[in-house]
């Protein structure tokens, strides 16, 4: 015989509006083993908690049922009340009559009836609950940060400064990310390199940071506190241990590849560093453009290298890294605008995308910071087209958030560097950050022409060679407008990295419709994911500007720290276990588990469950044909009893 206390919460009117809460409490009092049943306005408040604690003592309760909101909200709150009152915390049952009842009906009769059914089931199950003991595991103190753009750099530095060891993994041969490609940043017009390169250098110098460039994650094993990650170090064909960064090799190399860093606007050597402030300041060889790899002879770089650092036989290698927590900061790609044939990108040389223009402005870029077009001319008239692929049902439905502001920045820089007329074709001007509206005002004052209408088409001018016509409706006058320009800049959607879904699979993350990583909760857990110990920062979660990215990076660092700051951590006791005597070795459990917790022990011929990976979802138990798997806290007896209770209604 157990002694059950039932506590019905009103949640203000959230529940009380569509469930008759006092009737529910009176009903509870009639159920078997229920010793006390009460309702209260806010059960999670201090008086509410004290009421439960007092009743535990006064009525010698040994099972507590709280009918309230989702267990995601307050299960921990009430477990603590039980623990403080000397009861095992797993003897608590939460019945969710808010999200599952009151919020999904307007009918108080229906709501009350459903709440009674759920409560009846809960009472039946509660009688069979058993006390459980949480497990404690060791925690690896290191953190891995994946992606070394501004988000990854910031997170790595914050963590390293707390004394934690950080592995910073970057797939390119240099760190820096997109921010290192920009010339100026809005709205302050700070020089991007001036604020970023000191941080890049700090990464290189920091004793707590291991920088792994030209590296990609190839396998992830383990669980929160104990990740075991395999990194593929791609062959650079240059031994960075020997290289002294004299760069004599890059001068002599006859190979020509397309400069990814300059968005394909110029060529680079086959052995190269992407840009002058690259970190590490050591070259790599691009196989695809290297004369030796293509034709079997050349090796000029090898001849001029005094350090004997060139190694054409270098192979990809694999590095094993252990970490307690991981931060993903893998950034974004710019949408490919070629399929939008109406804008002529890739067809007319005068049409540029935003990142190409960033490189044109940059003093380390292909034109040395001068705005000259592919044909060498300086443009006399320029159109910047907003929302290309963003806010567009046919492409990316989201607003990319930064384009309005960088398009304004472009207008300013064009005005500063050329004598061109500048037109902005926009739908809505979104300037909702600190200092952004002021920046918009400033640009209006610079005599930029704003046309409120989305650019509809870019065409070759029939009259002048090399001149383009931008067509749109100026929605303010309602006129069809044709603007002759020399240069068109497209501000395309920011989209997830091409391989974002692969990365999501490696780390067991969900992605949203577009492919951006899903956060655990859009408001209250924006940096956590559904995988414990994996955090996200920057544009890999959704488009955002540099200030927001840096803020997220700091936040993700703090979140990761909450895990690795402790030597040990407590894990949920509600996991599954295998009774080896009944296991029939079918391995259904191994196949269905989304967390990889069950594994087959070949020597014993039975399945076993890694409790640290187990989330207690019960999938394995439900597919086990011999009932060898017991889902603790959701045993067959407990679940069947609950169903019986439910079905009495």
């Amino acid at each position: 015989m157990s002694r059950i206390g039932v506590f019905v919460c009103h949640c203000g009117l959230n529940i009380a509006k569509t469930v008759r809460v006092s009737e529910l409490a009176q009903f509870a009092a009639t159920l078997p083993d229920v010793v006390v049943a009460k309702d209260y306005k806010f059960m999670c408040s201090t008086p509410g908690q004290e009421m439960i604690a007092n009743d535990i003592k006064q009525h010698k309760l040994d099972r507590i049922i709280v009918t309230a909101c989702s267990p995601l909200m307050h299960e921990q709150t009430f477990r603590k009340v039980l623990a403080a009152s000397g009861l095992n915390q797993y003897l608590l049952t939460i019945v969710n009559i808010r999200e599952q009842v009151s919020w999904v009906t307007h009918d108080i009769e229906e709501g009350t009836a459903k709440a009674k059914a759920l409560l009846n089931g809960a009472v039946y199950r509660a009688r069979l609950l058993a006390p459980l003991t949480s497990r404690v595991i060791d925690v690896n103190p290191d953190v891995m940060v994946i992606g070394a753009g501004i988000a990854g750099i910031q997170a790595a530095l914050e963590l390293a400064n707390t004394g934690k060891k950080v592995y910073l993994v970057e797939k390119n041969s240099t760190i820096g990310g997109h921010m290192a490609q920009f010339d100026k940043t809005f709205p302050t017009l700070d020089c991007s390199a001036c604020i970023l390169t000191p941080k890049m250098d700090s990464i290189l110098q920091h004793k707590n940071i291991t920088m792994l460039t030209s590296c990609e994650v190839s396998e992830v094993k383990g669980f929160v506190g104990n990740f075991d990650i395999t990194i593929r170090q791609k062959a650079r064909y240059v031994d960075h241990g020997k290289c002294n960064a004299c760069l004599a090799c890059t001068e002599k190399c006859p190979g020509k590849g397309v400069s990814e860093w300059d968005e394909g606007l110029v060529k680079r050597k086959a052995i190269y560093i992407p840009f002058p402030q690259a970190v590490p300041q050591k070259p790599v060889i691009d196989r695809d453009s290297c004369t030796f790899f293509k034709k079997g002879k050349c090796r000029l770089c090898e001849k001029v290298c005094e350090q004997k650092a060139i190694d054409f036989d270098q192979q990809d290698t694999f590095i094993q890294v252990k970490a307690g927590a991981v931060i993903l900061a893998t950034g974004y790609d710019l949408m490919d605008t070629k399929p939008l044939i109406q804008y002529g990108y890739g067809k007319y040389p005068g049409v540029y995308n935003a990142l190409e223009v960033e490189r044109l402005f940059n003093s380390a870029g292909p034109t040395g910071g001068k705005v000259t077009m592919r044909d060498g001319r300086e443009p006399q008239a320029i159109a910047v087209l907003h929302c290309i692929g963003s806010r567009d049902k046919n492409n990316s439905e989201h607003c990319s958030r930064v384009c309005c502001m960088y398009s304004l920045k472009f207008a300013h820089l064009f005005k500063e560097k050329t004598s061109a007329d500048v037109y902005q074709f926009y739908i809505d001007m979104r300037a909702a950050g600190k200092g952004y509206e002021e920046f918009y005002n400033r640009i209006i004052g610079e005599d930029v022409k704003f046309i409120r209408g989305k650019g509809a088409r870019v065409a070759q001018s029939p009259d002048e060679e090399g001149r383009l016509i931008v067509e749109a409706e100026d929605t303010i006058t309602g006129k069809f407008i044709k603007v002759p320009v020399d240069m068109v800049v497209l501000s395309p959607a920011m989209v997830p990295r091409a391989d974002s879904r692969d990365i999501a699979r490696l780390f067991n993350l969900s992605t949203d419709k577009q492919g951006f990583f899903m956060e655990r909760h859009p408001k209250l857990a924006p940096l956590s994911t559904m995988s414990e110990g994996i955090f996200i920062a920057g544009v890999c979660q959704s488009p955002k500007d540099i200030p927001d990215t840096v803020a997220q990076a700091n936040g993700a660092a703090a979140e990761a720290l909450t895990i690795v700051v402790k030597d040990k951590m407590e894990l949920e006791a509600t996991t599954a276990m295998v009774n080896p005597a009944s296991c029939c070795a079918c391995q259904n459990c191994v196949r269905v588990c989304p967390y990889g917790a069950p594994f087959f022990n070949e020597s014993k011929g039975v399945s076993e469950i890694n409790e640290a990976l187990c989330k207690g979802c019960g999938l394995c138990a439900s597919v086990c044909p011999s009932s060898a798997i017991i889902a603790r806290h959701f045993t067959n007896d407990q679940v069947l009893a609950e169903m019986e209770g439910l079905m009495e209604f």
Partner: protein, 397 residues
Amino acid sequence: MSQTVTPYLEMSQAIMEAGGEALKKCYQCGTCAGTCPWTPITDFNIRKLVRFGQLGLDGIEDFMWGCSTCKFCVDRCPRGVEIIDVVTAIRNVYSGGGMLPQSLRAFVGSLSARGNPWSGDQAKRNDWAKEKYPLYTKDKEYLFWSCCTVCYDPRNTRLAKATAELLNQSGLSWGLPSVDVNCCGESLKKVGDLELFERLKNNNLDYFKSNGVSKIITVSPHCLASFKKDYGDDYEVLHLSELIARLVKEGKLTPKKDFGGVKVTYHDPCYLGRHSGVYDAPRDVLKSIAGLDFVEMGRNREQSMCCGGGGGGLWMEKLKGERLSDLRIEEALETGASVLATACPYCITMFEDSVRTLNVDDRIKIKDVTELFLESLDVNIEELMAGASDLNFTCKM
């Protein structure tokens, strides 16, 4: 007109209820009006039409007839607004109150009284065929849906005959509908008369069902799009150009005659291209003809220009300088082609008008892809046409 307006949300609600639900999604970016072929040459502004619809503003009736339902805006709309549905709904709601333009009254009246838009005698629908071609019966495979325009319009009866002749040459088992059928109703629906459209449609569906029709060949892309979108999924509907392309590919029809370098360009009908996604078939047919020098116009395929004949445009008068078909003829002339081929009776009618009013009918001929293909089979269309002028018809021109 007063510059002060007041939202009239009951009208906006009525538009939504008439099928224009999508208008609430519009965020007025202007992509539609910037894409619309009418914006540069007329006062018609599709974005404004939607805007007036959103607020139910007075004055909407002044410009609701400008749209030719070419679907260019729908394809480009970033919000996925079904703009043609909005236009249709607006016309439905407003034209009920006697707002139908004069030129469309005869059109709707004829459809209501005679089941075709050309004031043709229903009993004479198949007179062009002179009992030379078979009627559809249950043992036939294909119904050749002869559009009203090819049955009654003298220029287009050529196309009807060419098609029938070609089907005979193909060896397929086919037949014509009886005179009991009506217009498919596509343009009528776009003009907003949804009630009459349902009547015509149900009459045609009765014919299909009672005659066991399952495969339909259309000569007009308007019938094609209407059957596919509004007549349900029980029918396999093919445009003639798709059928010819298939027969050529299978080696069942082979062009014989060499055209000797005749330069031909092709105009994508909106209802074949953007509405039905058929771009390659007519081109494949043209390219199969020996000695035919095929050239594209600057705007082609998905970006093709509209002739202005859709959405009721065929029956409405347009001022000189406001005709899309004139602009399209100029584009065709720029290519140096001596033949402008197309695959739609409406386009043919619009272009024939334009070459005459522009006085260029000696420089460029308007032909259907089917007509050209039949010529390549060495069939003399003129012989087929002998006696065609006996037909009793009343229509525009």
